[in-house]
């Protein structure tokens, strides 16, 4: 195979990685969208996408990468990152896909504008929650979401809380100013749509002696990477890194509760930016469950026993990719929960499963999981916010963040 063709900086960066792939197909066995009804077509599978690039660089495929047909094939990757864990050749498949998508995405100006400002739009909506919720559930609102962001009309857009976590944090009277310092990197969903979880995390950790701040920040930007808007995502990344780095210099460590936020700080930012500051931020970032586990194991926190209480632990794709699974299972085992594990993708993948063009496929991806959870008919815990949303919508079962199962049985050791 010869490599004779290249097409600008983005594809240059792909070359080495693309030809590391030996087409073993292991990625197909774990890729959620490579195991649905359309996956009989090789081009709609994980391995197929890499082969397309190998063929392109070998001058066998004459279509441009930014052509609609090729982009359609790459659109079936929703960035779950399960392939990263299994690829023996170490091919960074999601990053390759983002770069391929970027060839088209950067030319779509309206799409670029809308997605790179979705954090701002969320912020504006959160200022008038009642109006936003009413509008977004109305026919006109759904039409707008469909036209602008491609969101399917069947999606119930997550509700905005009366107040964002950041506003609540600024306004409250009590604040623990002593103790170990944590800077909370909240991310959009917890800030606007799961504020109660954020409040529970802040108040519980303060009771455990932590001092919490919420430094200036923007969204994690995972959706932007997945939309191929790499430059826009990195602009946000630089802003976040700058502010979080300052917090670290001032003696804090960074706290996250969303696996997407954790992955952005631990892996995406340092890999793309490759600078000292992002590496320092990565080294000093901890998920709330990591902190709790450390406190339990070092004897600072005692947990009541929930022996006999059955819960299903759902392995979210991002939790697996972040390597936090063992931490979470260990923590839940200290509480003696009777744990049943389910390791299947729910199909939502952030925004992907909400889009009109993928809505039915997302349900198909998750169908096995939904049936299994319905059969088990016990409460579910999942670390990912959008997985919780998808599972709730499709099963009617109560789904909580693992922290919520732990916080209710925490006793600070005197």
């Amino acid at each position: 195979m010869t490599i004779e063709k290249h097409n600008g900086e983005y594809l240059d960066l792909l070359l080495q990685d693309v030809f590391k792939c030996v087409r073993c197909g292991f990625c197909n066995s774990v890729c959620p969208t490579s195991n649905i009804s359309i996956s009989y077509m090789g081009s709609r599978t994980s391995r197929g996408r890499i082969v397309i690039l190998q063929a392109y660089f070998s001058n066998i495929l004459n279509k441009p990468i930014e052509s609609d047909e090729i982009q359609e094939a790459f659109d079936y990757c929703f960035g779950c990152r399960r392939c990263l864990d299994i690829c023996p050749a170490g091919v960074k498949i999601p990053q390759i896909v983002w770069r391929v998508k970027s060839l088209k995405a950067r030319k779509r100006l309206l799409h670029r504008f809308l997605f790179s400002n979705y954090g701002l739009l969320e912020k504006i909506c959160s200022k008038m929650p009642k109006l936003s919720n009413t509008f977004l559930s109305s026919s006109l609102g759904k039409t707008m979401l469909e036209r602008l962001y491609g969101i399917d009309r069947r999606v119930s857009f997550p509700k905005f809380y009366e107040v964002s976590l950041e506003s609540w944090f600024r306004r409250r009277r009590f604040q623990n100013s002593g103790g170990r310092k944590l800077s909370y990197f909240v991310d959009v969903f917890t800030n606007y749509h799961e504020v109660d979880l954020g409040i529970e995390i802040v108040t519980t950790l303060e009771k455990l002696g932590y001092s919490i701040s919420i430094p200036p920040q923007k969204e994690a930007g995972t959706i932007l990477f997945e939309e191929g808007l790499i430059e826009e995502a990195l602009k946000i990344a630089r802003y976040n890194i700058e502010n979080l780095y300052k917090s670290i210099v001032n003696g804090s460590v960074i706290l996250t509760s969303s696996p997407a936020a954790y992955l952005a700080l631990k892996k995406d930012y340092p890999e793309f930016l490759g600078d000292e500051k992002s590496r320092i931020v990565a080294d000093n970032t901890f998920d709330v469950l990591e902190l709790l586990l450390r406190d339990v194991e070092e004897g600072r926190v005692k947990l009541d026993s929930r022996e006999g209480f059955k819960i299903t632990y759902h392995h979210s794709c991002f939790t697996k990719a972040s390597g936090l699974t063992k931490t979470i299972k260990r923590l839940l085992s200290y509480a003696e929960y009777d744990l049943k594990e389910v390791d299947q993708c729910c199909g939502i993948a952030g925004l992907w499963g909400m889009k009109k063009k993928h809505f039915d496929q997302a349900i198909e991806v998750g169908s096995g999981l939904f049936s299994e959870l319905k059969n088990l008919a016990i409460p579910v815990t999942s670390q990912s916010e959008t997985c919780r949303l998808q599972i709730r919508h499709n099963t009617g079962i109560d789904v909580k963040h693992p922290f919520q199962y732990i916080s209710e049985i925490i006793e600070p050791r005197p």
């Binding site: 030809f19 030996v22 087409r23 009989y40 090789g42 391995r47 197929g48 190998q54 063929a55 023996p88």
Partner: protein
């Protein structure tokens, strides 16, 4: 290249679309390239069309039409082949992925009938419910299909105890060139009823017919299993241990050899600190808990007698899976260290194993390239990795080195393929390997597929088939 075949025309496509529906016919460039290559590191080719039959009758009609119109047909399963069973002459890629159902489980008979496109691991997951499994366990098991396994008589890590795919195929339905459908074999364990045509078809890599339904005998899932890893100061001591285990008759389910460079690759990939050693042996036992302990103890005694520097025994299922997943990944992991790589699939009588390893090192030194040896040594199967680094220019040298080793293997009574097949890669060895029997094979090919429609260029050169 002489023109033996016709390209797929517009009217041909119309026929296929009428037969299969447009969703089961694709001429899109990206679909063609993806279906025209497998895991063999060879050149890209391009089929004219990809077809997805949903029934045996579809396969019958496609083969009838292709024969009439001289269009090549390349049956395809999971596309994980390692020898290049690819559309060298264009034509049709016949993807079996839509024929992927279990037809029937005969629980009392410990048998199953499946469609050819069923994925190996998915089948075994279903069979778990019955406490049964189909054992060959190729490394590509999560992606490869049963039809593909039968077509290449594949096997893997457990062949030393359980044998290869061929040992489990009782019978099948297949479609010959020209569209003749036939059932071969039976549903019995014993079969002495004239020529055993079924066995002849196994390993034919899509050159004699297209498998559509296959009946397999199954084994009971073992109650328990345990793995041990032993590390040796020399290659000689590791190979001697392996041979002694086999000769003693210890009932091992896997018996693998890995030499130093590949131990290092695994260690880096899985972040394991292995003891310093020149070779590692992985052994697994299956059976009741007590039986497994006894078998492994027997193996460990042999390891100690042969100066093993350390022996690790896995503590639980998770640890066992961890080491086996590392072993399964060796080939692609090697690509992290060497962008260009040639891999062999040689098999020798076990008395020749040590000589084969030493011969490999000597040839590597002669050609001044790096080589490393891994293999299912319990059944004499050797996968040499010839590492070329980033230097593509070394490919012809690696092939030359590999050819020299292959010729030596044939000379000592071995074979050029244990489980990957011939494909387009190893055709050059066919005459040397088979002698006069090669002509008989050609005659069989001509008898069953006179126009050489089925997988032309695979196993045989077309010039030899069509005279």
């Amino acid at each position: 290249m002489k023109t033996y075949f016709n390209k797929v025309s517009r009217s041909d496509l119309e026929f296929f679309e009428k037969l299969l529906g447009s969703r089961n016919v694709s001429t899109s460039e990206e679909e063609l390239v993806v279906n025209s290559i497998d895991a063999f590191q060879g050149d890209f080719y391009r089929a004219d069309v990809v077809l997805w039959p949903e029934t045996t009758e579809h396969v019958v009609e496609i083969l009838r039409y292709a024969d009439q119109h001289r269009i090549p047909v390349y049956p395809r399963g999971g596309g994980t082949g390692l020898t290049g069973t690819v559309p060298v002459y264009g034509g049709i890629v016949l993807s079996m992925l839509k024929m992927n159902k279990i037809v029937e489980v005969y629980e009392e008979d410990m048998q199953v009938t499946v469609e050819a496109g069923m994925i190996y691991e998915k089948l075994n997951k279903e069979l778990e419910k019955y406490g049964l499994f189909f054992p060959p366990d190729p490394s590509s098991g999560s992606v490869c299909t049963i039809g593909g396994m039968v077509a290449s008589n594949s096997s893997g890590l457990k062949a030393v105890k359980y044998g290869t795919t061929r040992d489990y195929v009782l019978g099948f339905e297949l479609v010959f060139a020209g569209g003749r459908k036939m059932k071969l074999g039976s549903r019995t364990f014993k079969y002495s009823t004239g020529y055993d045509l079924a066995r002849m078809m196994i390993g034919s890599q899509g050159t004699l017919g297209v498998f559509t339904e296959i009946t397999l005998r199954l084994r009971k899932l073992p109650q328990d299993f345990k793995t041990a890893l032993a590390f040796f100061p020399t290659v000689e001591s590791a190979v001697k241990s392996i041979c002694k285990i086999v000769r003693t008759g210890l009932d091992v389910a896997a018996l693998e050899f890995v030499d130093e460079p590949l131990i290092k690759n695994i260690s880096e990939y899985k972040k394991i600190s292995f003891p310093e050693s020149k070779a590692m042996v992985l052994v697994e036992a299956h059976g009741s808990a007590r039986y497994v302990e006894d078998v492994l103890e027997g193996c460990c005694n042999i390891f100690r007698e042969n100066d093993a520097v350390d022996i690790w025994i896995t503590r639980d299922r998770e640890e066992r899976e961890f080491f086996w997943s590392a072993r399964r990944s060796v080939y692609p992991v090697s690509l992290r260290h060497s962008r260009y790589l040639v891999i062999s699939d040689l098999v020798v009588p076990i008395s020749k194993l040590l000589e084969a390893v030493l011969k490999t090192y000597a040839i590597a030194e002669k050609y001044k390239i790096k080589a490393s040896v891994i293999g299912h040594f319990g059944d004499g199967n050797i996968h040499v990795h010839w590492f070329l680094g980033d230097n593509r220019e070394l490919l012809p040298i690696a092939h030359k080195a590999n050819d020299e080793l292959a010729e030596w293997v044939i000379d000592v009574g071995g074979a050029v393929s244990g489980e990957h097949g011939i494909g387009t890669e190893k055709k050059k060895f066919m005459k040397l390997q088979h002698g006069e029997a090669y002509d008989l094979m050609l005659q069989i090919k001509r008898l069953l597929d006179p126009k050489c429609i089925l997988s032309p260029g695979v196993i045989f050169d077309v010039d030899e088939v069509i005279q």
